[in-house]
Amino acid sequence: MSDFMMFSLVPLVVAVVIGMTCALLGNFLVLRRQSLIGDAISHVALPGIVVSFILTGMLASTAMMLGAGVSALVTVVMIELIRRLGRVETSAAMGVTFTSLFAVGVLLLEWHDATGVHLDVEHALYGNLESLIWFEGTGPGALYDPAALAGLPPQLARVVLVGLVVVAFVGVFRRHLVLGSFDPDYAASVRAHPALVDLLLVSLVAVAAIAAFEAVGSIIVIAMFICPAAAARLMTDRLAAQIAWSQGFAVLASVLGYVLAGYGPGWFGYEVSLSAAGMIATLSGLILLAACLAGPRRRPAAA
């Protein structure tokens, strides 16, 4: 029990919270056929995080959130510029933007790695979910002990805060989001400010990506933005039900993925454990595959 509290409770909660947060936003990205923007921004989070790190010298959450906001803006502006000046389609512009900015991030990271700070390319990709150890979590009593709670890894509070902000955003702007996703022209005509809401959505995607980034790495973030929501769309034709399915899939992938990565190899006699982030992303991909093969709404309704 104390082992679980110390080594597994925090990573599990962080994975579930991040999964649910990204999946919630992912619903609107999927509906707007903009899933790739989640991908783009998760990659651009890297240079954003590195630059804010270089400037402030620490992994402080405020600086990182600023980095998130700035990187989201840079991404959106760059995609739009490349699309217009290069006369290419949006997805091509996104691809160019995120690969090149991610590459810049890798170079920056390597360059400042020489100065000996613990942030490296491997972490950026896989995260370090397993390193979120709660040293004070020695037993159930720790949950009520303020001193022990103060020792919780700071990433936990960060992802929970971001999760709450995202839930509040979707709650307050639910009609704006739906209307802007379904019919942006009509949304503009009733002053639902689709362009502004779009920018807010993209900014929150960036904030969620950066908050998740440090804890779980970019692979899982990308998977969680796309897979649960895309799978949920294949399960139902109702938006509320789709969101519920996406949350269920996110929890399933996170919990099962974490457990399988940690204990799965042991069940087969291998004394190793796999990357939890990698396992969670793989599982969410498998869930999407299953929904593609067996989801009740996998074909568009006949006109």
Binding site: R175, F182, D185, Y186, A188, S189, V190, L239, P300
Partner: protein
């Protein structure tokens, strides 16, 4: 008050008065210096060839597309303050009908401005949406998935969404595009009914043959305003040739100039 003094008395009373409206994409003007006044209680058409800027004009009026110059007044007030009084029916093909929503969900979207973020959609909201649906004869489809609708049914759902706004002015972009004859007739009936209730309607319209039957006012547009006014005065062979750059055949024109034949109408 100086603002409203500059505009004419006619424009003050009009549900939609446009002055010197110009919209451009890049350096190319798509709509150039258009003046147009919609009389109250009229059913007006905007007619012109493809690329004449008809939809763009509507979008600029609605604030969807930015206008370069020009003023738009709703009952003499700048449109920014009066947008609540304008309802919009976009082109059916402009949205993704595979969206996870039911017919009633889409019609309830018309209540967007009446619902604050903390309010849930309640039964009386649904009731209002259902009333709009029954006006277009679609109440039986309320719980149907929108992806299952035919083109004509989709168009009627869009019309019902605009009806829930109970706006004084309704702007429609090609409401008859790709719908069957029966649906076209049903939609025209709803529009004429609205007109009888004293509402004003403005449609982008493609079919020259039905202009005389459906509409009482017309704006002939080809980037610039070619002519505007009551159909009998503005919808002339000379104006049409100017609008379509002389591409209409003499036979087409003679047929269009004949007064609407009631027997012909019924046989549709």
């Amino acid at each position: 008050m100086t603002e409203s003094q500059r505009i004419s008395d006619e424009a003050m009373k009009s549900p939609l008065a446009i002055q010197g409206l110009t919209v451009s994409y890049g350096h190319r003007p798509v709509v150039h210096s258009v003046d147009f006044i919609t009389p109250p209680g009229s059913l007006s058409a905007i007619v012109g060839p493809n690329g004449a800027g008809k939809s763009t004009l509507l979008k600029a009026v609605l604030g969807i597309t930015r206008r370069l110059t020009g003023e738009v007044y709703i009952f003499g007030q700048p449109v920014e303050a009066m947008s609540r009084h304008v309802a919009y029916v976009p082109q059916r093909s402009s949205v993704d009908w595979d969206f996870p929503a039911t017919v009633i969900d889409v019609v309830v979207m018309g209540l967007f401005r009446d619902l604050r973020w903390w309010q849930l959609t309640r039964r009386h909201h649904r009731q209002r949406a259902l009333e709009s649906l029954s006006r277009v004869g679609m109440e039986a489809f309320a719980d149907r998935q929108i992806g299952q609708l035919s083109g004509g049914q989709q168009q009627r759902v869009f019309l019902a969404r605009a009806l829930t706004q109970q706006a004084a002015l309704t702007i429609l972009d090609e409401p008859f595009a790709g719908v069957d004859a029966a649906t076209e007739k049903a939609i025209v009936e709803v529009l004429k009914q609205l007109k009888r209730e004293g509402r004003t309607l403005l449609c982008v319209h493609h079919d020259l043959a039905t202009v005389r039957d459906y509409f009482d006012h017309v704006l002939l547009l080809n980037v610039r305003r070619i002519a505007a006014g009551p159909v009998d005065e503005a919808f002339t062979a000379r104006h049409l040739q100017a609008t379509y750059g002389g591409r209409l055949s003499p036979m087409q024109l003679t047929r269009l100039m004949e007064p609407a034949d009631p027997a012909n109408q019924r046989s549709e």
